[in-house]
Structures are given as structure tokens and as C-alpha cells.
Symmetry: D2
Subunit: 414 residues, 4 copies
């Protein structure tokens, strides 16, 4: 016996290979399909629309498959009503909870469509009611924050997602359409990132940076400081390493002893490193170290003096850590989430761990660029279903230098 | 004006390039030196001994340089007495604290040499007295665990470190000395790792594994289960990912959808992943899931049923996490440290983050092998001054398969 | 003004993303399109068929675009007749020559469809007539072998290509469909390669190996020798390095001094290397060295004693080279081409240069697997439009060891 | 029984780890040693000197070991007289031929010390006499160019090599000594390369570039053209690919369709590529294409119009190739060798194959910098005993852009 459901998807289905992926998903989940109707966009700019009957062995399999397909923007033709179940335990979702995407999502509860305010992947959807018991709000919540008694959306019914339409500027990142053939690709890339940041600022949005210690090792700290001062760094997500290396460099004025030829910095066993940590711990916080005149330069100093925000989240390999570092990673994720509203552009530089962590919680609607000299880091991000992610494999030091030249009029003039 | 101190180092100074590194360190710390005496080992097996006068601009610089040189096994000719200062704040070491190495260390306090029981890099040395006020014990402590009032060793005086002598079996990892030319290098490597594990077990020591999700992705879980059952995995350090992928694979019996061609697994956006986490969270722990018959196979199941130990420490990119995961990384480090006594061999497989974390806290006396398909991970470990670290760049799946064939007589016979 | 042509394509257009690539190509060539009709396969196994009008600015642009689209299996609805022009210069094709794909190709000349016997990418198509002047044969020819007076097919008319249908065994390489979830992915891969070779042999076809010096460095020479003896290596394409390292290892019985930890062998500056070359040069050929009892073991020895074929083609970084090496690369390509008839399976191991060279001349109908520890090599092959290429990122030494265990019953029993 | 020889080496033996490597070599060649005397440089700048007795099983082993040690700059205390044997076959050296290093070398024949004019690795040394039969000249010759009747130096006697003293500017490439801590490492590197080129030009020497197609793919062609025009490119060594991509880009004005995100260009199956080759082949040469107005821009155009030299050497994966390409690799090596006199600086960019080929034939006295985004390429070069090689792992496009800004006053002003 088998169960079936009609689903639909529209957009530039063939241009971007979306339909291929949808059909692959169905097979991967051991399902089957019939394409009932396919209205193909005749001309280049016309959208296509497909109606597909999805078939699975039983209802649980079908529900899972439908949830999976929603990550591609596939919705049920007749969405029906969302089902709701009550969480019985803190930190645990009901068995058939709807697992979220990072796409714009609406949920129909008791006849009303509610917009999910904070799309985030791999969360549960929590229903909140007003005093009269009327459904008032649906929001994403990671399973660790679920509390017994909360109402949770279950199954795939009553839910619609919307895949963001790639706009002109996003298209530009495709690099194939570039009309000016004599242009230098690398210069084009730098300019596109600069344009993305400027546009976000013009719309009153924040620019989020996610950085690893490579920013300091490649000598890009002065470039980043210039961009902080010029207003292009509103929030920084990082770990203990970026901040410590930056502070160590400021406190001890040392050449960091980087072996550039092999692309690796001397992270450990470096006595300055551990002494820098102790110095800031003594002050109580990075801000205190700045205000007490102990820390007088570098990236962290400029973030403090220009009142930018930063969230440092620790990892198991940390020394110290700095007093500002969240040692509880779940607390750290919460602190990062709290900074996401109003972010309009995100640049990830030289860090796999914090880039993936940020990609996990960022809505698909935020333009996202990942820069690293290691192709694996760039690929990893792009793999994660963040359709908005663009990767640039290049030297972080030279890239940030060029970006500062592009964004900060006086950079390197003095 | 300048200050100076006589130091000495002995061993196979030239064979292993140690002296080059010592002199490089001196220059890097802006110091100078005179080689006062150099007794060279005439024949291949004779040790050499060097007496060097180290010169620095001022005493703080000299003390730092001396501490740095101790990481290479260089001691003061006249070690003198250790200085002691009292910690004034929780989590902060006194200004001139001695920053530790992972080498065997002795400290002379008030005329008595005390052995440091738990060598670990980048810690402070805490002095404990007995009831009569006599120095009784010196131990390493990470700065975050320091409490006000503790007595802390400062400066470089009164301290001697000993570099482990590479024994025959360690030499074998050099691969150059292999006498049987027709041997297959890869087979030799597998056998050497197997020998290292067997030797540790014969000495009544524990074998520590540090693993990443690649163990599951490359299909090596059955091989690892066989080695757990055969008694070659006493402790596992890992993150949320290895355990979750392993459990997901057992619960859902799914092909994991690995794109082996490009060496990457589908970590995220995979609905099974998040559902596996929720299932175990509902049970309360991995052990409970095993005991309740929910989890019936895989690596974590075999660790539980064979009463092996594991420490899972989280990271900022985790979903869930599993209820057994330490979400506070400092707590996680403490939990890892607690398992180190009696470890006699350490194998690190397919994880950069947890391998570096383990390398940070492991004494230099424990043989250590790091296996990864990514040369950068292997290099990173070897860089960290763990003179005992050996790296093997190979396919994790095939390597563990071969290791199981070597260690477990019946493996692949059934 | 613009020109247009009706084209068609059929197959599993959406499953494999082919249509996306076709439309991308059109845009990349500054063309436009209208999808006139799209008959979608309703059920999973039904093929789809698309009729597309392709639009370009002028006829030369259109012809180029049509040739480009043929690399995807797109043919003109009304193919018409092939145009023919005469080459005016040795080594130069007429201006609008048809640039070939590696797909099965038929050409209609003067009313007759002729099958191209030896499909190869990026060649010209030469028309041969019988004594009566009737078109008798069309074959691919690289531009360097063109002679003045030859008749060459021009433009995109009169040509049909056929994309190979991925059969079940090829599908298996997709790795996603594997039904046996408890299987070890790496073991599955080894078995699939073994199956591919066995199938080729059963069909009376030859197995072609393309190898780099890593085969010797990783200790896989004994495994390869066993497979030569067992009949699974009919032809070897390689460079000077594989053969020289293999011979050096046999002549001098030396440990090769491989630094396995960092995955690199000592290629140069190694006095044995240059002396091995001189020894074989003195003999006049590898075969002579074998027959004179100078060379008594290794891969090259087993190829000679078992009468297998090999083609060694040199490169600019070669020492020596061995007397059997083609120092002229165009001659080398010709020698390689001469061995292609009847090849039914191709395994490429540990070489970028010779793998790409072989991929250039191999018909798309030959199953092709590329094994390397470096993902870049594997990706490069897969990029080159060889739709039949499968890549495996793994350790070459362990992989060949496992392959020998799979293919050779007595291997490792002795 | 065993044989022994006294050897000596002097210099900064410990600082640079040379002595470690010498002793490793002795063990690797199954020899033994006694250090008879070791005069250690007391202060930082003093050289050290070691007298070592080297022991081997028999004379051939000893001779080989002594030749090996000469690659490290180790000479016999009593060099004695060189032995000479006559080559009996074309292309074959006598059995105990001396295998050369790329170091400055002198040979004592019949009482006279002769300087080797063209040091090159892995060659034979040929003795030339004047009309009176007096030894007049000793020069390196690759074994393929040896002719029967030539007199060849054999064994290790009568030969002295000199390791170049790293001068201040070379030291600077060490990157550790940099005094200005706030400097950006990447900017420092660019400036050092620029300084090396300027210095070579001031000394009337030539600057040699070795380049791969990545120069074009990363958009660095305009930067390189500017440096050609400014006189900083005297000779270019490359393959068919760099020249063809550059020409294709000029002829067709196309965006090259580079997938920068993944760092790979579309090399093949690209119809423009094969058509560009045909166009130049029709002209007969790149120069003819420039003179006939067919080729009007790009790197190759600027080399021709500014009368710079280039040597293109083919490989087995080439299409076409361009008419200027040496298809015989041994001929190609000869053509490259002919351009080496007066080269005073060498920059290798984005090519493994041609970089290794150039490293093989370049004297150790020529400063050499290798730039690539792939650490493996950089490491490979540095491994090959070219003590003068410096590697920079960075983005080729941004690096050349910055180098042009540094070297060409008006670059990017227009």
C-alpha cells in the first residue's frame, strides 16, 4: 500500500537545476513520483511550474519526504491545516515535529496564516497564542530551548515556504554573466562584496562578519580596523583565537612568527599567547582592558572604541579563554541569534567552525559570502543548503586589503 | 645593558635538528647567545651536550626566553630555587607565572625537587603544601581553574624538564629505517599502529581514541565496533557529530547519502539527523537509549555495552546536542583531563578540533598518531610541539579497515 | 536581426540536470531560447523530450552554439546535410570546422549517415571517399595530423550525437542508491571497480590503467604486479616517473625514503634515481633490461614478462628519460590513441597529467574511474565533460591493496 | 670490512639544520660516521666547521654517499684528483659517473681546478680538452645529450662544491626577522619579490618568469602585461595552456567562464579554445599572428611587441598545440637551458609542471620564488633541494595585481 500527495513548485526550475535535486530527494527517501503537469517557461525569463504527485510507502515516510522537499521550496498544493502537539519534556520535541528550513515560512493554524518571524534551519516551530487562545505567533526554536507544555507544529501540512528569488546583484556573483570581458575576475569579486555591504548599509541594515585567526595571521588586521572605523563592521562573530591573536599582537608588538610559506601560524606553545590571555583575564573583559589603557590597538580595540558588537564563542581547543568568551556553546548560539535581527549582509572569513555555526542560524534571505584560501571551507558552506551562499577561494590577507581600498577612501593614502 | 644565564641541553642534538630550533628561538625572542662548549657525540649513538650562554636585554625578557627554551628541553645549568607568588584573583595567574610544557617536569621549592604529576602545556604550576607547610606537590592547572590564594610558580628558575628519548618503536615511525625494502609502506604503518596499541595494553595502559564524523562517513564504523569489542578502544573523545551520525545510521538504517567522490558527507539539512538527536534527548542519555532498546547498534552502542568510556564535547556548530554532550567547553576539557591518567597510546582520526584539543592536554610521554586524509590536519598536530606526534595522511575508512584486520583475528572472517 | 534553429534532446533531462546545463550554455554563448514543447516523463523511469528554438545574433554564432550544445547531446530537429571544406594547410583545419565531442556521432554526407568510428573530443572530422568518390568513412583527427587536401566537416548541420544511457552498473557509482545500508562505502567502491574490470574482461575488452609514481610511493607495486599477473592490466599509460621509480626500487632494493606523513616522495636529487635511468638507457629498452636479467622485479618487469602493453610519454620535468619514453608529446598521443580500440574499462590512479591526457582521447562510452588522494585531481577529470567519469578520493596504496584482494584469489594468502 | 673518508663542512651548520640533514643522509645510505672535530661558532654570526669521518661497507657505497653529501655542501678534506672515464654509448654515462648538484662546483683534473660554468642537478660532468690535450673546461650535460667518446667525471674525488651563503636579502624571505611588527606580512612579501626583481635588473641580469594558465584565469593578465611593458619580464617559460588561454581571451573577448568559487577554469570542451589554436596555427606562429594584426592584445602579444623571449614546452595533455610549442620535451629542455645565462631572478607562478622543470635546470645561485594557491606545489619545489627556493601560498591574481602596483608607477592610475 502507498500514500500520495500533490505538491507544486515554481520558478526557474531548469535553469538552476532545482527540479533535478527535488527528484533526487524523492528517490533518496525511497519515494516515487509522477509529474502531472509541467508548465514550462517558454522564454528565458519566464518561470516554470511543476505539479508532482509524490508517493511513499506509509504516512510517516510521506510526511518526512514532504518536509525534506520543503527545503527546496516545494509546497503541498492543498496545504491544509498545521497539526499541533504539546511538548512533554524540556529540550525534546514531539515525535513528528516539523523540522524547519531557513526559508521564509508561513503556517496555517486554525484557519489563519501566520508568518514565521525568524526562519532558522533544523528547529521546531512553536505556536504562541494570545490571551484569548487565538494563534498569535509562530517562531523557530532549537530543540534545546523547548520547554514542556509548548505547542509544536507537527507533520508537513499547513506550511508554505518561499525560496528567495535571486535578484540582479545576486546573479552577479555567478560570474558568468559579466559583460566586460577585460575585467579582472578578482577585482570584480572584491567590488561585488563591497557593493553588497554598501547596499546593506543604505537600507539601514547591519553588516555581520564572521572571522577566524587567519585574519590576523595574514596581516589583514589594519585593513579590518579601517573597515570597522568606516562603519562596515557592525557585528563580529568569532572564537577565542581571533581575539587572542589580535590582542597578543597589540600587547607584545611581536612579529607573530608566521610561516607564510606554508600558510600556517604558530598558534600554540607560544608563551606570548598564554600571557596575553592572562593579562585580559586580569582586567575582567576586553572593554575593561581598553578603558584601562591596557589594550590600545587592533581589531578588538577598534570594535570597543567604535561601539560595535561582538560575540565570541569558545571551543574545546581554547586556552584561557578570554573573559568575554561564551564557554557554553548553546549560550553562545543564543548570543549569536540575538544579534541576527537587521543583519543585511554577512561576510565569513577564514573560519570553518564559526562560519558553519552562523550558516546554521542565518535566514536564507541574508546575502552571504564566504572567503577562504582552503576550498574545502568554501565548499562546506555552499553545501549546506544555504542557496544564498557564495564562496571565494582566495588569499584572505590580500582580499581584505583590496576590500579596504574599495570601501575606505583614505585607506593607504596616509 | 644585558643579562645572561648559562643553559645546557643534551641528547642527539644534531640528528634531530633540536639545536637549530633552540638557536632560532633565541633569535625570535630578540636574544643572543654564545656557545661555550659543545661536546659532540663522536659516533652515531653517542649523545651530544651543549653549554650555551643566553643573553637578553633585561630580566623579564630573559625569563621568558628561558621558559621558551624549556619547551625544547633546555635547562639552566644552575637551576636555583623556584619563585612562588600567590594568585590574587580567581582565574588569573600572577604576572610572571611559569608557562608549562607537556614534558616531564621537576620543580625545586625550598630545597626539594618535586615531580609534576600531570604535565600539560600552557598551564600554571600550583604548589601545594602539607599541613606543616612543607611543599608537598606541584601540579599543572589551566588558568581558568586557578583560585585566589593558590601558590603559583613564577619565572624560569628552579625548574628542570626532560625530553623523552625516542625509543626503538618510536623510531620505527620515522619510516626511513625500515630494513625490509619490499614491504608495503602503508601496511607497515598499519602494523606499527597496531603494535603501539598492543604494547600499551600489555603494559596495562589505556588506548585513547579521538574521532570525527569521518569515521562514520567513510564506512569505518563496523571496523571500529570490532576494535571496541576486542578491547582496543578504552576511551573515546569526540564531538556531537561523530556520535549523532553513528546513532542516526543505526536508528534509520539509511544510506547516509555520502558523496564519496568529493569526500564530504551530508551533515546538515538532513532531516534524519535532527530526528535522531530528538530521539536520544527523549531517552535522557545514550546509555538509557541502549538500555531501553532504542539504540541497538553502532559505535556508541558498543562503547556502552562494553563499558568503555567516552567524553563528548560540544561546539558552536552543533545541533541538538545529544544529552551526553558537554556544552561548556571548559567543563568538557576537565572531563577529558579526568580520563588521561593511564593512557598509554592515543590515536586521532578524522578530526581537527578534538585532536588539537587533546594534543593540548596530553603529556609528551604518550605515543600519539594522527590519521587524516587532509594533510593540513596532520601537519597542524605535528606543529604543536608534541614531539611524540606522528602523522599519517591516508583514507580513514581503508585505514581503520586494515587496522581491524590486523588487531581482530576474526574480523571479516564471518 | 537574429537567426534560429530547432533542436531536440531526450532522456532523463531533469534527473541529471542536463537541461539546466543546456540552458546555461545558451546564455553563456549570448544566445536566447524558447522552449516549444516539453514532454515530461510522467513516472520515474520515463524519458523526457524537449523541443527548443535556439536564437543567436548571426549564423556563425548560431553554428558555434549548436556545436557547443551537441556536447550535451542536443541535436538539430532537421539535421540537414553536413558541409564539407578542404583543408588548405597541413596541421590547420578550415575556419568553420566542426569541433568534435567524445560521444557517439553520426554524420550525413550526400544523403548517407556515416558512423564516426573513433569518437574523440576537440578534433576535426575527416571525410574519406572510396574510389568512386562516394563518402565511405568519417573519422576524428587532431588538428596537428590534418594534411592539406583532406575534406573536413564544417558547421553543425548533418550531425547527430548520442549521449550514452547510464546503465545499472554506472548508476551504482552514484553511491546514493545503494540498498544495503550496513555496507561499508569504501568496500562497495572497491567492489564496483573490480566488477567493472571483470565485466570488461568477460566482454573480451581490454582494461586500461593510467598511473603516476604514487603507485610506487604508496607501496602498491606488489598489488599492481598481482593484478598484472591475474590479467587485469592490459595496457598501462604512464610517464617517465612511474617507470623510473618502479625500476629504481627493483634495481637498488632501497627503501624509497618516502615521507608518508606528508604524502610526498623524494623524487629528485636522489642519486639512485638518475643511476637507474642510466642503467636502463645502457640496455637500450626496458624489455632488453628484463631479457638480459638486469631488471628482475616490479611493475614494468611484470608487464614485459606477461606481454602487456605500455605507453610511456615524457614531460618537460623528466630526467633521463628511459629509452622507452616518447619524448615528443604528439607522438606520444598517437601511441596512446593506437591502444584505445577494444578498451572496455579505464582506471586512472595518482596522476593528473596523464589522466587528463587520456580523458582527452577516450570515447565517452568507456567506463572511467579516477582514484587520487587529492580531490583536485578527481574534480579536474570530472569537470572535463566526460560524463562517464567517476572519482574516488582515497589513499591509492590502500585502495590498490584492497582491489588486489578483491580481484586476485591468492593475493596475501602465500 | 669497511672503507672511510674524511669530509668537512662549514657554515651556519646548526642554525639552518644542515648538519642534521647530513647525518640523516649518512644513515639513509646505510653508512656510519664519527665526528672528529667540531669547531662551533661561539657567537651568533660565527660560522662552524665540522670534520667527519664517513664510513661505508665498500668503495662504491662510499662514493655514492660522498656524492650524496656534496648536495649538502660536504666536501672531502683531501679531494684528490677527479677520475675520468669515456662514454661508450650515445645517451649513456659511464657506470660510476658523478651525478651533479646545482651548486657552484670545481673539479681538479690533472692538477688543475676547473670551475663548472653551468651548474645543474642530476647531470654528468663532461671534460673538454684544448688542442694540446690539456683539460680546458668542465660542464654539466644531461645524460640524453652525452655522446660516445666524451670524457666524463666519475666518482666523488677531485670535486668541491660551495653552498651559497644566504645574504641579507635572502634572509629577508625568512619572514621571521622582520622588525616592523605592524607590517602586513603579505605586503612585505610582495615588496620583497619586487626588490628581488629590481636588484636583478640593476645588476644587468634577466628576470625569468615561469607561468601556468592560472595567471590568465585569475585575471592577472593585465597586471602581467604592465610588468612586461615596464621591463620586469625578460623571459617566460610556459606550456601550451597559458599561451592558448591568453590568446583565446584576446581573440574572442570572452569571459572565460571561470568558476572562481571553486578555483577552476573551464579548460576543455570549450569550443573557443580549439578554435583559437587553429587560428594561430594558420598564421604559422604567435609572432606572425601579431605582425598580421590577428593577435592584438594579451600577455603573448606584449612579449612579442616588446621583444621579450619565451619558451613554450608541450605536454601530453595539450590540444593543438600552438605552432611555437616544443612538442619534444628534451628539445624543450634544451631551449629552456639556452635562456638561463644571465638570469638573476626567477618567479614561478601557478604551475607545478613547468616550475619543477625549471627548478631542475636552474643553478642554486639564482634567487627563486614560487607563488601558488596550492600549498602542495609550493612544497614540492622547496623539497627539491633548491635551497634558494622560497614559497608563497597565496592567490595568484591578487598577488600579481599587488606586484604590478609595486613595480609599475602608473599601474591602475589611468
Amino acid at each position: 500500500m502507498s500514500v500520495r500527495e500533490s505538491v507544486e513548485i515554481s520558478g526557474h526550475l531548469m535553469d538552476h537545476g532545482i527540479l533535478s535535486r527535488v527528484l533526487n530527494d524523492i528517490r533518496e527517501y525511497a519515494g516515487d513520483y509522477v509529474i502531472d503537469r509541467f508548465d514550462v517557461g517558454r522564454e528565458t525569463d519566464d518561470p516554470s511550474r511543476a505539479l508532482i504527485t509524490v508517493i511513499a510507502d506509509d504516512d510517516p515516510s510521506l510526511q518526512r519526504l514532504l518536509m525534506r522537499l520543503q527545503t527546496r521550496g516545494v509546497n503541498q498544493v492543498d496545504p491544509g491545516e498545521a497539526e499541533v502537539a504539546v511538548a512533554e519534556q524540556d529540550g525534546v520535541l514531539p515525535e513528528f515535529f516539523y523540522s524547519t528550513t531557513n526559508l521564509e515560512t508561513r503556517v496555517r493554524v486554525e484557519g489563519t496564516w501566520l508568518e514565521v518571524g525568524n526562519p532558522e534551519m533544523d528547529c521546531g516551530l512553536i505556536l504562541e497564542r494570545d490571551e484569548s487562545g487565538t494563534p498569535a505567533r509562530v517562531y523557530t526554536l532549537p530543540m534545546s530551548d523547548v520547554r514542556a507544555g509548548m505547542e509544536v507544529i507537527c507533520g508537513a501540512s499547513g506550511i508554505r515556504v518561499t525560496v528567495p528569488v535571486p535578484d540582479k546583484s545576486a546573479e552577479a556573483f555567478g560570474f558568468m554573466e559579466s559583460e566586460v570581458s577585460s575585467e579582472k575576475p578578482q577585482a570584480v569579486l572584491v567590488r561585488q562584496v563591497a557593493d553588497g555591504m554598501r547596499e546593506a548599509k543604505q537600507q539601514g541594515k547591519k553588516v555581520l562578519w564572521v572571522g577566524g585567526p587567519g585574519v590576523v595571521h595574514t596581516g589583514a588586521a589594519p585593513a579590518m580596523v579601517a573597515m570597522v572605523e568606516a562603519g562596515f563592521v557592525d557585528v563580529l562573530f568569532a572564537g577565542n583565537a581571533l581575539a587572542t591573536h589580535d590582542i597578543e599582537s597589540s600587547l607584545f608588538g611581536t612579529s607573530l612568527g608566521i610561516d607564510l610559506a606554508e600558510g600556517r601560524g604558530v598558534e600554540h606553545g607560544h608563551e606570548h599567547h598564554i600571557r596575553a590571555l592572562n593579562t585580559i583575564r586580569k582586567q575582567g573583559s576586553i572593554r575593561a582592558a581598553v578603558e584601562n589603557g591596557v589594550l590600545t590597538g587592533g581589531i578588538m580595540h577598534s570594535l570597543v572604541t567604535h561601539d560595535r558588537e561582538f560575540v565570541l564563542v569558545g571551543s574545546v581547543r581554547d586556552d584561557g579563554p578570554l573573559p568575554d568568551v561564551h564557554t557554553d556553546v548553546i549560550e553562545g548560539q543564543r548570543a549569536m541569534r540575538a544579534k541576527l535581527p537587521d543583519v543585511g549582509f554577512c561576510l565569513m572569513v577564514a573560519t570553518m567552525l564559526h562560519s558553519v555555526a552562523t550558516g546554521n542560524i542565518l535566514p536564507a534571505s541574508v546575502p552571504l559570502v564566504c572567503v577562504d584560501i582552503n576550498p574545502a571551507t568554501v565548499t562546506k558552506l555552499a553545501d549546506r543548503g544555504s542557496s544564498q551562499a557564495r564562496g571565494i577561494v582566495t588569499d584572505v590577507g590580500l582580499f581584505l586589503e583590496q576590500l579596504a581600498v574599495e570601501l575606505v577612501p583614505d585607506y593607504r593614502r596616509g
